[in-house]
Amino acid sequence: MGVARAVAGRGMRRIDSAILRVACTEYRLIGISLLRIVLGLATVLYCLSDYRNREFFWGPNSYDSPSVASRSLPHAGFSLFLISDSQAWFEVLFHLTIVSSLAFMVYGGRALTLVQAVLMWSLHLRNQDILEGGDNLAQIVIIFMVFTVSNAYLAPGAKKRRARLRAARRPKAATFLHNLAAYLIVFQVAVLYLTSGYWKIAGKLWQDGVAMYYISRDTGFQMSYKYSHLMSNAYVGTAVCYVTIFIELAFPFAVLSSRAWVRKANALSLEGLHLGIMAFMGLVCFGLIMIGADCMAMRDDDYRALWKRTLPLRGRAVAGWRSLGRPAAPPVAAVPPTAGFATASPAMDSRMVGRVDHD
């Protein structure tokens, strides 16, 4: 009896310490802040890319009439745009979506995230023809983000917010929910890449290394002939196909890896891939949202390490910039690179290397 009680007690203590680990400290704060900025920006671009055609896509006289759009809504789906057929309602709501996306991008916070989620879903469900994979991910991720602290970095008052989080270092339900939501976002992105990589590796054209050739010749995604020409090259096309599959399948394992360089290399490769998609396939919003998702692969310490690595580069850039204004003086004597680095470093350190959260 005594042994059983001891075992149970030990088990409970283990569970408690596990709870403490996720209820005291917010994780992935930098990744979520970057994701917030990217999601807000992508929604603004989504609206602005067809601003002049907004009535054609989402207005009361759209080709996708309100009655047809209402019939196409999924079960329990909603769109505020379908509440009224009035032109004024549409204009107010559309511009409110742009303003709220900008506010969400800049300020973040739970209330603005909720507003952003409602307006973004409304816009997406008003016309589902023009949605793509990135929008699908944004719809899911924004729901999870409602439970997160999305403005601990890169937002006005972020420093004070971090100080408050740091001061209140006791187990809280809000912190636990933040970490669960962060886990769900990372999990969702990992499932996305695993699924996408799996379907690619199962496809004959991807196995043959010619998928990129066909994609680059699809008139809907052909932004430049040079790109199509490049993908016609057997070596380049095959390499791009295989690297794409490799880094997609590697994502879940990289996220779980204890080696920081694996996480960083995978995240940066995926971001490069999506920059390419933005530039060469014209999928700007898709690419942006996916870059935001890729940001979740790295832990806060990874960002700090990357930030530190850029300090010498920034120091040199600042020194070079200053020396441009003084052509007569030798650049090294005028602004020694080490001096630039030394002055920038402590300030940046205190801002970005704030000891608040640790992954």
Partner: protein, 234 residues
Amino acid sequence: MTNRAGDSDGDAPVPVSILSARLRICVLFALVPVTVFSLACLVYNAPPSPVKVRLGHQASSVLEPYFGQDWELFAPTPGTSNDRLYLEAELLPKGSVAVVTTQPVEVEYAIDRMPRSNRLLPSKLPGVLLAFQEAADQYTRTSNGIDKAPKDMQPAMRKDLDAQFAPSFDEMQRFLSARAATLYPGAKIVAIRATFKRQDIVPFSQRYVAPTPHEPEKPELQTSWMPYVDGVEK
């Protein structure tokens, strides 16, 4: 008993004893939906398997509509052909009483190239035609399947199919009406008709053949004449 609470930089340890019963209950209640979501998400996205056959429906009911997802991005097989959409119109030219049928005009290529005019903010218009092409593909496939069904069941099945695709064809009708109004300004348009065609991309093995092989356009689906809809934004 104390715990470092995930800290790695030397902050003061947090005692386990400060865990309240309320927090423990909250953790329990929060972990249940998260676990259900995680499992449902794995099943939902899994490739076809006996497990998916048994649990797929339950996974869908957990995830849809708000967490519905499809990540087969350009996979398993990216498109190996380009779609073409031809628009015909029946119209009354200015000052004429006889209805004239126009020649089919291909409208998709120009729309597909629209994003090139603004690379930073590319238009989403090609997405509309992509949606129409998918609807047309699906309609054709199902319709071909109905042709193989017993004769007495075919009318009811075709009626169901038309009802299912009615929203897509309503959209097409309005979209093509707006397009026809742009193509034939001043004319009184009576009806419009769409023809979906497909042109294969030159196979990889023939990419450097000179002259470039010409792939024929294959018709996929032709709609019936649909009445022109006035008042759609252009």
